[in-house]
């Protein structure tokens, strides 16, 4: 199959798909006519070509998708007549970001970080399919652990979890602002890697990386369960 044909097919698939199209899916559809590298090259080319166009190809949720451009948002909104102003609540975003960085995490652990009950919020995030169950933690009561879903990536326009800035980046930003004296450094330590030892259930690749980043800097863990 000629490369131009392949490229055209992919472009057509992108048009009809209502979800981000993953490399695996394309390669499978093309019955292995191309490999992952070739696919990547084709996509780079396509994305480059679309720079000249009114619409764009975005990399999102581990795949690619045809999308509108932000600057025409008002027009599109007017056309499809959907109120996009409904945003997630502050509480929902807070819980979501804790889950994103600490997954898999139980509700109790979320409550502990927020200092407030999160049951209702977790429930609504499940309903919105922004989070999903990731098995049960092997402690008393076997509580459900939660992680972010693919929908989460789509909702925030992330390619994968590695697109999230690391906790360290946030912390450094904090420390740059906070020029006060160091104290004994004790409270600065990242708290509660209480679940570092627990096994990952269904790890996404990126997730694992993230998890590693989060745990390696930990030296001592307080026994504060």
């Amino acid at each position: 199959m000629e490369l131009t044909t392949t490229k055209a097919i992919i472009e057509n698939i992108l048009l009809v798909s209502d979800r981000p199209v993953t490399p695996d899916k394309i390669i499978e559809t093309l019955e292995g006519a191309i490999d992952a590298d070739t696919f990547k090259n084709i996509m780079d080319e396509l994305m480059h070509e679309y720079k000249q166009r009114g619409i764009q190809i975005i990399e999102i949720a581990m795949g690619y998708q045809l999308a509108t451009r932000p600057k025409y948002a008002d027009w599109i909104g007017r056309f499809i007549n959907i109120d996009r102003k409904t945003k997630l609540s502050k509480a929902a975003l807070e819980v979501l970001s804790i889950i994103a960085y600490r997954q898999p995490i139980t509700r109790i652990e979320i409550d502990t970080i927020r200092g407030v009950d999160s049951g209702g919020v977790v429930k609504s995030l499940i309903d919105k399919k922004l989070i999903r169950g990731m098995g049960r933690k092997k402690v008393i009561g076997k509580p459900m652990m939660f992680g972010t879903s693919r929908r989460f990536l789509e909702y925030f326009g992330l390619r994968n979890l590695a697109d999230l800035p690391t906790i360290e980046e946030f912390r450094e930003k904090e420390e740059n602002i906070n020029t006060s004296e160091e104290n004994d450094g004790e409270p600065r330590r990242k708290s509660g890697q209480l679940f570092a030892e627990q096994q990952q259930v269904e790890p996404d690749d990126e997730m694992e990386d993230e998890e590693e980043l989060l745990t390696t800097e930990e030296t001592t863990t307080e026994e504060d369960i």
């Binding site: 209502d18 979800r19 975005i58 998708q65 045809l66 999308a67 509108t68 451009r69 932000p70 948002a73 599109i76 499809i80 996009r84 945003k87 997630l88 502050k90 509480a91 975003l93 807070e94 979501l96 970001s97 804790i98 994103a100 960085y101 970080i113 927020r114 200092g115 407030v116 399919k129 999903r132 169950g133 879903s149 929908r151 909702y155 925030f156 326009g157 992330l158 999230l164 906790i167 946030f170 912390r171 930003k173 904090e174 906070n178 006060s180 004296e181 160091e182 104290n183 004994d184 004790e186 409270p187 600065r188 330590r189 990242k190 708290s191 990952q200 259930v201 269904e202 790890p203 504060d224």
Partner: protein, 254 residues
Amino acid sequence: MESLETIEEKSYQIKLPTFEGPLDLLLHLIRDQEIDIYDIPISQITEQYIAYIELMRDLNLDVAGEFLVMAATLTHIKSRLLLPKPDPVNPDEEEGDDPRNELVRKLLEYKIYKETTSFLRDREEFRGNIYVREPAKESAADGENMLNETTLFDLLSAFNKLLNSIGGTSSKEINLDEISVTEKINYIMDALSRHVQMRFEDLFPASVTYMEIVATFMALLELIRIKLVKIKQAQLFGSIIIYRNENKNGTDNN
């Protein structure tokens, strides 16, 4: 320590933003007064915190229990700070020396997640201006999560139907045939290696015994749990279809 007036003034300056919880409120007080988080003037903060809660009460706002717990914690820390310091010659008291440490640790952690939250808010804003083709309906991939939940009941009712259909055959089972779930797992996987998918009913040949049905069903549940197979139901009350889960290799094994 601030005088009462300034505290009251402070409290009423707050235009009652909604706080997500006690930590949120504390961070607000700390930021508002540019307090060094590593050296929190506990008395001052405690008084302001309590003043705020009383304000909420005066305004007939619901004060969640967590806010009160924090008030108690702050008061407790305050009282501990008033106690004479332990003998400095005996420093092998663990790091928990300063009763504020635990609180500071929590505050700092929470603070980080407030940052990540605002990052997500920005992303949400940005993403909100990009439109893609809307999913025609709840697509299959979305449904996967649901399948685990909803079809469990469907599975059970299918199982129930099956048991009812074999009626009273159980009376003959005196010789204890060892039918293991493992055996049935192999049976199902074997069947699925020959067919891409099969109907739930087809797992149970006409002449099976009660024990076999139970074992097969348990095997199926186990396979679903370790994600080796998936089930779906094309339409409501339709046949339950069992198929191999190609892209999982059962990470949750124990």
